[in-house]
């Protein structure tokens, strides 16, 4: 047992690890936002609601179909991603030619509708979702007791983030995507169905949010308002990282989780606000964000 700046190392490492777990969620969600923004130029305010829907999908699959955590990890994102496709087709497509602020207002409205519906049906006190049996328990790391499930969250989130990054930045499909963002008309001329690509991209971003929701279900209770406060923090993460950069979103997400964890040790009063303070500082120094291109 030793101390760092008068803080027992146990508390320090423990909070850092918890920060990394929170960071996993920030990274997954800001990644989804960045993917959607890159293609559609829309800030998806519904993202928090879609994260919540992912958690509810897992809960409902278990309650009504007896489908457990592992299959839900795949099924829930597919289902919620499909609802995303519908939203894009029905609503977002009509706003393509308008000021992107309309997209923000529309998705905000949708988020209210979804949250309200779930609150009507399920109340707002939250529903329990058990940790899958194979990940129950935990191990003593010496400085803290780490529940197995939380370790799994970090690993899975990291894997999904890196896979997404690879898919977009290093594969042929990804290159079409990036090209379509730059010059949709030209890409179309090559015979690629750009509108469908847009739809699928939105669906994919939504699926990422839903996946985060399923992962969150055993940790936090499943509740209708679980997404709405989180999403604002994620917005700040995205502003800090600079939008449109995939790697930027991932790195910033994890890093800010850790920073938040550190704050909980040294200055707990500020732990809720530290991300916003960092955002303000970044804006002063680098208005385009840490990884953003200026302009």
């Amino acid at each position: 047992m030793f101390e760092i700046f008068g803080i027992p190392s146990q508390a320090l490492f423990g909070q850092l690890l918890l920060g990394l777990i929170n960071g996993s969620f920030y990274a997954l969600l800001s990644l989804g936002l960045a993917v959607i923004f890159g293609m559609l130029n829309v800030i998806n305010f519904t993202h928090g609601a879609q994260y919540m829907m992912g958690a509810f999908a897992a809960y409902l699959l278990l309650q009504h179909a007896g489908i457990g955590y592992w299959p839900a990890l795949v099924i829930a994102p597919l289902l919620i991603g499909a609802t995303g496709v519908v939203i894009e087709r029905l609503f977002l497509r009509r706003l393509r030619k308008l000021d992107p602020l309309y997209g923000l207002m529309l998705t905000f409205g949708l988020a209210l509708v979804i949250e309200g519906l779930f609150r009507n049906v399920y109340g707002s006190s939250g529903l329990p979702y058990q940790v899958p049996e194979s990940l129950e328990g935990g191990r003593n790391l010496g400085f803290m007791f780490l529940p197995n499930y939380r370790a799994w969250v970090i690993v899975l989130s990291l894997a999904v983030c890196l896979a997404t990054w690879y898919g977009i930045e290093r594969t042929r499909l990804g290159s079409y995507l990036r090209a379509a963002t730059e010059n949709p008309v030209l890409v179309r001329a090559f015979g690629i169905n750009v509108p469908r690509m847009v739809t699928l991209t939105y669906g994919f971003g939504v699926a990422l949010a839903a996946l985060a929701g399923v992962m969150a279900a055993p940790i936090y209770n499943v509740s209708p308002q679980m997404g709405s406060d989180l999403i604002i923090v994620v917005f700040a993460v995205v502003v800090i990282g600079g939008m449109g950069s995939i790697m930027g979103a991932i790195v910033t997400g994890f890093a800010l989780g850790v920073v938040e964890g550190l704050t909980k040790v040294f200055f707990p009063e500020a732990s809720n606000t530290v991300i916003f303070v960092i955002m303000a500082i970044v804006l002063l120094v680098r208005p385009a964000g840490l990884f953003g291109r200026t302009g």
Partner: protein
């Protein structure tokens, strides 16, 4: 690209003054008669929000900046007014000044940061700053955390008018809100307002004409924040309570909805929108969370098919400016 700031109707200028004047007369008459028929506390709430929405509209409707964090100014002014009236026992007029000044200062800081970016970024930054100050309000001692500041005395205005009296309070709120409304109207029709509209239409060109647009934007932001603060201060005295609800992001969403329903960039739209939304929240409250669903649905409907808002549509139909 159709823009949020889209001018709803283009009309011949000479009609403008007359139609606005007539509509203003109707509005004042209605508001003067209303407390005889309608629950006055409801009216006062709606009036406070009408001023709030007008201040918000000054920014989005005339400069084209969508702030997603206006609850920051409304809520913090409300806290400071409540605190000044309760803990320092200041008379209401001074308490309101304290609250409004707080909002102005916050407006300078938040505005200074936010106008460094445009469009969507501006919206997200204001939202994040407001959320930061929400957490601050949650933690700070003087705000009472989850309890809020309760039992705020209304006191005597200028040491003479007893605001505990329902009628006096109503008249006071009405006078302040109308004054704020006229001030905003005056601003948007001043040379300053013309520059703001020019920025909204084409910022680059306005810069090339030699205007320091950043300064204009900041000044408009601070004005909007200050007037939002005035609304928040009044609200704290009406309800004798300042609470976290006033600084929460849902409040920023509410004011956006009010302005959108009424009509972005219209003079009377925010007032109509505020009355509608407050009425909806009040009288549908027994339906619980359905209020949220309805509000969201109205949002979606407005954005998809109804971008001019109620007053915008009426103005278009009558071919006048409202």
């Amino acid at each position: 690209m159709e823009r949020v700031l889209d001018e709803p109707v283009l009309v011949r200028r000479r009609n403008a003054g007359r139609s606005v004047g007539a509509a203003f007369a109707v509005m004042v008459a209605l508001l003067a008669a209303a407390p005889f028929v309608v629950y006055p506390v409801f009216l006062m709430k709606a009036l406070c929000f009408a001023l709030f929405a007008c201040a918000f509209n000054l920014l989005i409707g005339y400069v084209g900046l969508l702030s997603f964090g206006h609850a920051l100014f409304f809520g913090w002014a409300s806290y400071l007014t409540a605190y000044a009236a309760k803990a320092w026992a200041l008379p209401p007029e001074l308490a309101i000044i304290v609250g409004t000044a707080t909002a102005a200062v916050l407006g300078i800081v938040a505005g200074g940061l936010a106008i460094r970016r445009q469009g969507i970024y501006f919206a997200m930054i204001t939202l994040a700053l407001a959320q930061m100050m929400y957490f601050f309000a949650l933690r700070a001692k003087f705000t009472g955390g989850e309890d809020g500041i309760q039992g705020v005395p209304r006191g005597r205005l200028f040491g003479f008018f007893d605001l505990a009296d329902k009628t006096t309070m109503y008249v006071f709120v009405l006078v302040v809100v109308l004054a704020g409304f006229l001030l905003i109207y005056r601003i948007i029709n001043s040379p300053f307002g013309e520059v703001l509209k020019a920025i909204r239409e084409n910022e680059q060109r306005t810069i090339s004409l030699g205007y320091k647009t950043e300064r204009y934007k900041l000044f408009a932001f601070v004005l909007s924040a200050t007037l939002s603060g005035l609304a928040g201060s009044l609200n704290a005295l009406v309800f004798q309570l300042a609470s976290l609800t006033d600084v929460h992001w849902t409040m920023s969403g509410d004011v956006m909805l009010m302005t959108l329903i009424g009509g972005l960039g219209t003079v009377f739209g925010p007032v109509v929108g505020a009355f509608l939304v407050v009425a909806m929240q009040n009288y549908l409250a027994s339906f619980g969370q359905w209020v949220l669903v309805i509000q969201g649905a109205v949002f979606v409907a407005c954005v998809l098919v109804f971008r001019r808002g109620i007053v915008g549509e009426i103005a278009a139909a009558l071919r006048v400016r409202l």
